[in-house]
Symmetry: C2
Subunit: 456 residues, 2 copies
């Protein structure tokens, strides 16, 4: 059993050391979606491996998959006690548009109370927080109150395409009573939170093809259906004037927010004004009619354009009639939408609305259903108590708009629930330029994880 | 007076030499829109200067402008005879998408009867054809039947932003009776043509801005109006279901095609099937209801999307909610549309339709009104006779869909009409990958220009 007092004192005396560990980890540009970063993926995996070994874990290994490897390690010194599977990922999002970063994304930079750099919040900061908590807990006292297995994957930012196979193949090794998922955040530095719901994801790349090659817009303009125009018409038609998604049957399986949930959301101290600031000040908030912003971004499904490309996008003018046009489109899903069904709905929409003047192709990327977990589980209660101790305040149970596909994969394959507790903040610029991690929150995260393991 | 027989015989004996001149010229990557090609622009100008000097022209100079220089030369050896201003441009379009080129765009490559490379048709091929014709005509016999001034500019592909000032500043030097514009083509290798009408151009870059930076589509998706979606809605709304443009007042000033013009167009032997092939086989032709394809691409105004950009367009997936989205949009105009008025119409449309959830900015590029010239002028008749002699067939008088802004600038500033005669072909892939020039047509072009100057 960890000597809590000594563990917490140790953390407080070694802030610099823990932060240095995060900086070193975040310096590795482990962008999973870009092939040129493959060697960096290996370096990041080996960095995690080194950390697991240094805290005395067993069976530590960088385990190959069909894509980027998974790092695993375990401490099984509490026979008869519950086993926790700690989940994290060591990959990060791409950094473009690079010119909008104020600092080098892979030279983590301290400014005021924040550390800036790609991945410092999503989720290398959370990885280091939980690993530092484990290391400290193991050093102080006679071991942990629970058995711990750690799984840090390298493909979360590309939809974890090989995690499913990995979980199935290593089902025995990964056997556990519940999972701790650290890929999350709290609402404000003084407002601890536990996530009990996550949205799912379906991601697509749509191409509209017209002529076999680009044409001169003077020679043929007016006589050929412009694929960029057709793409715009198709995308425009995917929402109606009330902000609702028009894919046929899209809302059929959407589990409605209960009255109790809507009431609980209304109590969360996150005003429309604050939300607008967190969302980088769009001129005006916007979304599905009949719902608050908080409901729209956590409890309701979406359809977003993530990218658009066609024709000439350099400086100046080029009078081209493009041969083709592309949109990256993704949906955030809520229970009980089935991502495979959503793909069918999108195909049905395109079939019904794409004109005969063009051809189209649709490629599907990672898919994950939405998730709701039990806020009354033993693990959730241990997490809530830990947050209460460290932050001095009862945590809020809330639904989050992002997707953590692994939560549903772990439920499906390993048969266990996840407790979702991490220490990012809403204005951390995840997936965007100038990503940051709030250092005091990160350090409270380390302490919270120590209490969590002790509370089990 | 040129000894026609000897001049034509000389051309036929020196095909290789003339072609080599075109290849050398086309090897210079004079892409006017890209700053990195500035030195190439100078090289291309100096190449033209060398050609003008070698044929014994006077006052030959590379003349600076606020942008790329103009090359000028003259032969004034026929006092009392009319003066022709020959117009060409030495700049070319960008080459992207480069990966769709089968050969290096700046290593002109012969394959069958065609030469492939950027600018070989638009319009270095036409430049070399008219310059070779002038050189040959001057070498054979006692000079030309007319005075000739040659003006080759370097900014046509970016809308000739500095030509207006140049024409005004050098009005006296450029004084002439009419202009020969070589930036054009014929319909088929066996179907000579003279262009009497051209469409104008108005070109814009539209940006839609939402949040101040990219957001995570899970964190904020559903609560913020996606700028890429707004852009698609704005672009989609610019056409109605009949293929008509919805900008307020857009058709008010459009000069209607006359019955006689529509009848003449119907007689042009260019079937819908051929047009579809020339347009790189879109699945189905499309355009404004109530008009044939030929009418749509030459006698009716358009609105085209030339480029689209937003968010993440690399390989794979990135779940970003983009901060902004961009469309390059241009209109081909017919008489009597005023490009400045069209900009007002676009701004009025955007003002009326852009939602309050975003901000937008609009930048205007080159502008030119549409043009109709007199097919009964002395110069037009000399051109028609030349084509009849070389091709053995009466040329077709036709309207072209592209824009040659200089034709209206020369009319406005120098007060003269242009005869528009060039030797590209409809399938030359102008402004697109794999641009080509049909060599036998190019060589017939040289002969046609020789006859044209002799016919004056």
């Amino acid at each position: 059993m960890t000597d809590l007092q000594s563990a917490i004192a140790h953390v407080r005396a070694h802030h610099d050391y823990i932060l240095r560990e995060l900086i070193e980890f975040a310096e590795i540009p482990s962008v999973s979606t870009l092939p040129e970063h493959k060697p960096d993926m290996q370096r990041a995996a080996e960095y995690v491996e080194k950390v697991l070994r240094s805290m005395g874990m067993s069976n530590v290994a960088v385990m190959p998959t069909a894509g980027h490897p998974v790092v695993y390690g375990e401490w099984m010194g509490a026979p008869g006690k519950p086993t926790v599977l700690v989940y994290g990922h060591y990959d990060v999002q791409p950094v473009d548009p690079l010119n909008e970063w104020k600092t080098d994304p892979f030279k983590p930079t301290l400014a005021g109370e924040n550390l800036y750099g790609r991945g410092v919040s999503d989720m290398k900061g959370q990885d280091i927080a939980v690993l530092a908590a484990l290391a400290t807990s193991l050093q102080h006292g006679g071991g942990l109150n629970a058995n711990v297995k750690v799984l840090i994957e390298g493909e979360e930012e590309i939809g974890s395409p090989n995690l499913d196979a990995f979980l199935r193949e290593h089902k025995q090794m990964l056997k556990c009573d519940f999972s701790l998922n650290c890929d999350s955040g709290i609402l404000r530095p003084d407002l601890p939170a536990i996530v009990y719901g996550l949205r799912g994801l379906a991601y697509f790349e749509l191409w509209v093809h017209g002529p076999e090659h680009d044409l001169h817009s003077g020679q043929f303009g007016g006589g050929v259906h412009n694929p960029a125009q057709v793409l715009c018409e198709l995308v425009a038609g995917m929402h109606d004037s009330k902000g609702r998604i028009t894919l046929p049957g899209y809302y059929d399986d959407v589990r409605k927010l209960t009255k109790a949930e809507r009431a609980a959301m209304a109590r969360i101290p996150r005003s429309e004004k604050e939300l607008r600031r967190e969302a980088a000040n769009p001129p005006k908030m916007h979304g599905e009619a009949g719902y608050t912003t908080l409901e729209r971004i956590s409890g309701r499904p979406t359809l977003e354009v993530n990218g658009l490309y066609s024709g000439f996008i350099g400086e100046g003018s080029k009078t081209v009639l493009p041969a083709k046009a592309m949109a990256k489109i993704s949906m955030r899903l809520v229970p009980d939408q089935d991502p495979a069904n959503v793909e069918k709905q999108l195909r049905a929409y395109l079939k019904a609305h794409a004109p005969k003047t063009v051809r189209w192709t649709l490629q599907a990327f990672g898919k994950a259903p939405g998730v709701l977990t039990d806020p009354e589980s033993v693990a959730a209660k241990a997490a809530a108590a830990a947050l209460k101790t460290v932050f001095g305040k009862q945590p809020i149970f809330r639904r989050e708009g992002g997707s953590v596909p692994v939560v549903s994969q772990i439920k499906d394959i390993l048969g266990v629930d996840s407790v979702i507790m991490g220490f990012g903040l809403p204005d951390d610029n995840l997936h965007a330029p100038n990503e940051k991690q709030h250092i005091p929150t990160f350090l409270r995260g380390v302490e919270s994880y120590i209490h969590f393991f002790a509370n089990l």
